[in-house]
């Protein structure tokens, strides 16, 4: 409280001076590279993976190719499924965490946060080992006599989805938890007091009151899942996603202008989602 007041009092020139270094960082690391990509996306590809400074809109026209539309659709669908599953698992988790006593809450919070201490790539290799043909999961299932042949889990859409949800679920759990935690519980008690059964009270009171947390979580999961192409690669999903496409254009085909155009499209989609979120009354996520 006092900090906010202090910042307000500092106001005017002091605040403006304080902003200068931040603005410089933003310009250096965000605005300049972004403009660079934007400029390149309107250039022509030269020989030997060079970029020629000849203006063209050809790169954007190529985006209309149905093959690329299919790639975008793949990415959208994967992101949608990931968000849905993360919500179905993450909301109850966040809810229970908010309703648990202090000791349980600390433990659950730790479970959510600990994975951040290790690199996501390393953790995904862990999943690979778990799910491979002679991995622990297959071994246990066979030992229990539930299966004869090892299940081929790696490479399936399910395994990609599992890994995606695994990577992003903390971003669903945390806003849901905070929404349930901040909700005035006496409203639920009032609903029960007025005759609502627990499930009815949840649907008519808890759910609407925690909707801001749900929509924040959905945006925070959906947007990164549009770009997380390496998960699919690592789990052997052989899915062609926007991320793969951009990487291939930049590193394999060496077609930087087209890669840049793809990046701008992905960026536009992201901006659109945030825009819709903010317009629907979503709170500031600190990213937009």
């Amino acid at each position: 409280m006092s900090g906010g007041k202090g910042a307000k009092m500092a106001g005017g020139r002091g605040t403006r001076l304080f902003i200068v270094p931040m603005a410089m960082v933003a310009v250096l690391f965000v605005a300049i590279p972004l403009c660079y990509v934007l400029v390149i996306s309107f250039m022509t590809r030269g020989d030997n993976s060079t970029v020629q400074a000849i203006f063209t809109a050809e790169n954007y026209r190529r985006l209309l190719d149905p093959n690329y539309a299919r790639v975008f659709l793949n990415s959208m669908l994967l992101a949608l499924w990931t968000t849905l599953l993360a919500l179905l698992l993450g909301y109850p988790f966040g809810y229970c965490m908010a309703r648990a006593n202090r000791r349980w809450r600390a433990l659950l919070m730790l479970l959510v946060i600990v994975p951040f201490w290790t690199n996501a790539l390393v953790r995904l290799y862990g999943w690979k080992i778990l799910l491979q043909a002679n991995g622990p999961v297959n071994t246990v299932l066979r030992a229990l006599g539930l299966i004869d042949q090892p299940l081929r889990m790696l490479g399936s859409y399910g395994s990609v989805l599992l890994a995606m949800v695994y990577c992003l679920i903390p971003f669903m759990i945390l806003p849901c938890h905070s929404a349930v935690d901040k909700m005035d519980w006496s409203c639920v008690e009032a609903a029960r007091d007025l005759g609502a059964k627990p499930w009815y009270a949840f649907l008519t009171v808890t759910l609407p009151l925690t909707l801001p947390g749900i929509s924040a979580g959905c945006v925070l999961v959906f947007v990164p899942s549009l770009g997380l192409f390496f998960v699919s690669d690592l789990m052997g999903g052989s899915l062609m996603l926007v991320g793969n496409l951009i990487r291939d254009q930049l590193l394999k085909s060496r077609d930087w202008p087209f890669g840049a155009a793809l990046s701008m499209l992905l960026m536009a989609v992201t901006v659109l989602i945030f825009g819709l979120y903010r317009r629907s009354g979503g709170k500031d996520l600190g990213v937009f």
Partner: protein, 363 residues
């Protein structure tokens, strides 16, 4: 009026460390306005939550309308609550808030509309049906919370410090309105407050609570005139307590003495026998300070402060034992004993009470 609508029988409750409620017994009659009065942390809210079903007692039974409801969840009890912070649904407008209980019960739209309108008229909020709770003032939210709780026609209405968040003027106005409403509807109210003035002014009966027990249950007059314990005497109003020994009792008046002097108490206020120890309680507004001695009283001390208090001059007198007593200056505003001078304390023997000496209503 004699029909018992709610019985609490031996209710006990603890949350981890220490008892919150230790053996609560209470019978509430139909149409009664019963107030649970106590300082914060005395267990009054827990008692209310147990009646509502929001808390389960560790021991004891809750009997509502002859039916044991101890194990019934809140939605299955014909009891509604006005919560301390109102707990209006912030995402619903006034109309939908009030209609919630009917909607849950699947009451038809036409009937709901009529009933909600009737409720809003009752609390004089008919012009606010479409407002959101955030657009209402504290007093208006209060009315809506009451309308919502009354909408389903509960057998019992529980009110948890409903006026606690309002300023003094509005609180006084709402006290009168609530009391009128209760008498008009004939619904049984169980009311929680820590404000003794509110409790005295509204209740049919008051249960004074302390540390999870009832100190005294009785009519406001009982509680005020015949406090059962020192705690009640000190909690209700401002008064002076004097520990004394009965010297004689004759002609309806007992004479008592304490190290600071002699005093008189009417025998109608308690059966006092010579030789007994008794605690005499005198309300500040009934204590008199005079410049000259009064027959039967020899309590004298030095005036240390005169202050004006709502129409009277309060004289503070220090007795030899060090006790500071507030009294009304007997001579009025002009003729008060000056600071530093000697003053004699006395009172009408019929207006002092003997703590724990009088019979009081239980349960």
């Amino acid at each position: 009026m004699e029909e018992v609508i709610l019985s609490l029988k031996g209710i006990e409750k603890s949350f981890g460390e220490g008892d919150v409620l230790a053996c609560i017994d209470l019978d509430v009659r139909k149409g009664e306005f019963v107030t649970l009065l106590g300082s914060s942390g005395c267990g009054k809210t827990t008692t209310l939550r147990i009646i509502a079903g929001l808390e389960t007692p560790d021991a004891g039974r809750v009997v509502l309308n002859g039916q044991d409801v101890t194990d019934l969840s809140p939605e299955r009890r014909n009891v509604n609550t006005v919560f301390q912070n109102y707990a209006l649904f912030p995402h619903m407008n006034v109309e939908k808030n009030v209609a919630y209980g009917l909607r849950v019960r699947g009451v038809s739209k036409a009937e709901t509309r009529e009933r909600v309108a009737q409720m809003l008229r009752l609390v004089q909020m008919e012009n606010f049906a479409k407002r959101m709770p955030s657009q209402l003032s504290g007093g208006q939210r209060q009315r809506i919370a009451i309308a919502r709780a009354l909408c389903c026609n509960p057998a019992l209405l529980l009110l948890d410090e409903p006026l606690g968040a309002l300023d003094l003027q509005l609180r006084r106005q709402m006290q009168v309105e609530l009391k009128r409403l209760q008498e008009k509807l004939g619904i049984t109210f169980i009311y929680i407050t820590h404000d003794q003035e509110e409790a005295l002014g509204m209740s049919d009966r008051i249960a004074v609570m302390r540390d999870g027990r009832f100190e005294q249950i009785g009519t406001p007059q009982d509680i005020f005139e015949r406090p059962a314990t020192r705690y009640v005497a000190q909690f209700i109003g401002q008064s002076t307590l004097l520990d004394a020994q009965v010297e004689s009792a004759a002609d309806g008046v007992a004479t008592l003495s304490c190290p600071d002097g002699q005093m008189r108490v009417s025998l109608a206020r308690g059966a006092l026998r010579p030789g007994e120890e008794a605690t005499v309680c005198v309300r500040n507004e009934r204590m008199r300070a005079s410049a000259s001695p009064v027959e039967g009283f020899t309590l004298a001390g030095t005036v240390n402060l005169n202050r004006y208090a709502a129409g009277a001059l309060m004289t503070h007198v220090t007795l030899p034992s060090g006790l500071d007593v507030a009294a009304v200056a007997a001579g009025g505003l002009e003729d008060a004993p000056a600071v530093g001078s000697r003053a004699y304390l006395y009172w009408d023997p019929a207006q002092a009470s003997v703590v724990g000496g009088a019979s009081h209503v239980r349960g």
